[in-house]
């Protein structure tokens, strides 16, 4: 198969994921609502202490986004595995890595991007100023693709395993920690006047690394799960 047909398979898989999400909107909206609720509960629980909320904001919003991303990981492969579509993808003429990357991209578009877009709105509740909101949004934009890539590995490994949800969290959260630290840290660094260069460079590096290794890792994990 030529690379141009890989491109059309890639597009077909992304289109299919989006079509499915349109049919089952609840699947996509639930993690998003979770993010909104979690982020909104903190100001209510902590009370109107402006300085405290301001300090907490990047961390709370990043953790909320992380947890929401993890909630949405379940649907990455589970449905296809259950109805036999994943098997068909594994033995199709297209390399599984191409199909996997398409699914991860669709996951980012459907689950990661909404988080990025709604985060600034939630940040207002914490009293973040416009500049910090901008940095926060950028850090999430840089970090959520990594969450999709790395999370995909966990999703592939825990496919079909009983109690997979908990196992998925245990596997993925430790891998998310660097992204969390640099992402939330970027906002604090910028607020302290240190600039975001270092943090964003590191997040970019994490994205590149996961972009290089995740496809291979996910494909291998899927083939093991399918055996």
């Amino acid at each position: 198969m030529t690379s141009s047909s890989w491109r059309s398979v890639f597009a077909a898989v992304v289109r299919r994921e989006i079509a499915l999400a349109m049919q089952q909107k609840g699947d996509v909206l639930t993690p998003l609502f979770f993010f909104v609720i979690v982020a909104s509960l903190f100001p209510l629980g902590v009370g109107p202490e402006a300085p405290l909320l301001l300090r907490m904001a990047p961390g709370v919003l990043w953790v909320g986004a992380l947890l929401a991303a993890m909630l949405s990981l379940q649907r990455l492969f589970a449905a296809d595995h259950a109805d036999g579509s994943l098997e068909q993808m594994a033995i199709s003429g297209t390399p599984l890595a191409v199909i996997v990357m398409a699914k991860v991209l669709a996951h980012f578009l459907l689950s990661g991007l909404p988080l990025v877009l709604i985060a600034p709105v939630l940040g207002i509740q914490f009293g973040l100023d416009a500049r910090s909101l901008g940095v926060l949004t950028l850090s999430l934009l840089l970090g959520t693709p990594t969450l999709s890539l790395v999370g995909g590995i966990g999703a592939a490994l825990t496919l079909g395993v009983r109690g997979g949800g908990v196992l998925l969290s245990l596997l993925t959260l430790p891998l998310y920690i660097p992204v969390l630290i640099f992402g939330a840290g970027a906002v604090e660094a910028d607020a302290a006047g240190l600039g975001v260069g270092a943090h964003f460079s590191l997040m970019g590096a994490l994205l590149l690394l996961s972009g290089l290794f995740a496809p291979f890792a996910i494909t291998t994990a899927l083939r093991i799960s399918l055996e």
Binding site: M1, R16, A19, D83, E87, Q88, I91, E227
Partner: protein
């Protein structure tokens, strides 16, 4: 002339030895009938042949070369239908078939799709959401993919199950035509189905 050969295959599922030193040789135009009681390892053997699982011992050769060395080329020439229909319930019949056509690298042709569905007794079902079809209809949609692919090797796990008489005859016909065009097929079935004019090999598992 294409060949599928298995040599010294050994398969262990869980802790049970399913089969050992299993081999066969199939070439274009031939059909391999896998027989055996439930649990004898028929599905496991089919999955080994597809490359979904790896054998403990033994090799599978496609056109005399190990499948492992030419995975992509082998898969492009392979069509597999297992127990699952592999259809997304939330999408329409058309969307499902178009997706599989895209996966196989072909352009979905509306006329071909319509003809295939009609032959399977599903005329006009293109726009129906799969969830709203009966079990038998869903199975027939899955089977209609047989008429929309150009693979040489068909591996079918219990394709005749839950089909009515007319559909059974039709499917036997479709498989027969595939064999006549130089394709080959491996299938399991509990039913005795006559594929007219086919060169049939039989392999019994679990003895």
């Amino acid at each position: 002339m294409k060949t599928l050969e298995a040599t010294q295959l050994k398969c262990i599922r869980g802790e049970r030895l399913l089969f050992d030193a299993l081999g066969f040789r199939l070439h274009s135009g031939q059909l391999l009938y896998l027989r055996g009681a439930n649990g004898a390892g028929k599905t496991s053997l089919l999955r080994l042949l597809c490359g979904l699982a790896q054998p403990e011992v033994g090799q599978i050769l496609w056109n005399t070369r190990p499948v492992g060395e030419q995975a992509e080329a082998f898969r492009q020439d392979l069509f597999y239908l297992g127990h699952h229909n592999a259809l997304q319930e939330a999408l329409t019949v058309d969307e499902n078939l178009a997706f599989y056509a895209a996966l196989a690298g072909t352009q979905p042709d509306a006329a071909d799709t319509a003809r295939a569905l009609e032959r399977m007794g599903l005329r006009g079902c293109q726009r129906r959401v799969v969830r709203h079809l009966s079990q038998g209809q869903k199975r027939r949609v899955a089977l209609s993919r047989l008429m929309l692919n150009s693979a040489s090797l068909w591996i079918l796990d219990e394709p005749f199950v839950a089909l009515d008489h007319a559909s059974l005859d039709l499917l036997a016909n479709v498989i027969g035509q595939h064999l006549q065009r130089g394709g080959m097929a491996v299938l399991t079935s509990h039913q005795q189905v006559d594929i007219g004019g086919a060169q049939v090999q039989s392999l019994e598992l679990g003895r």
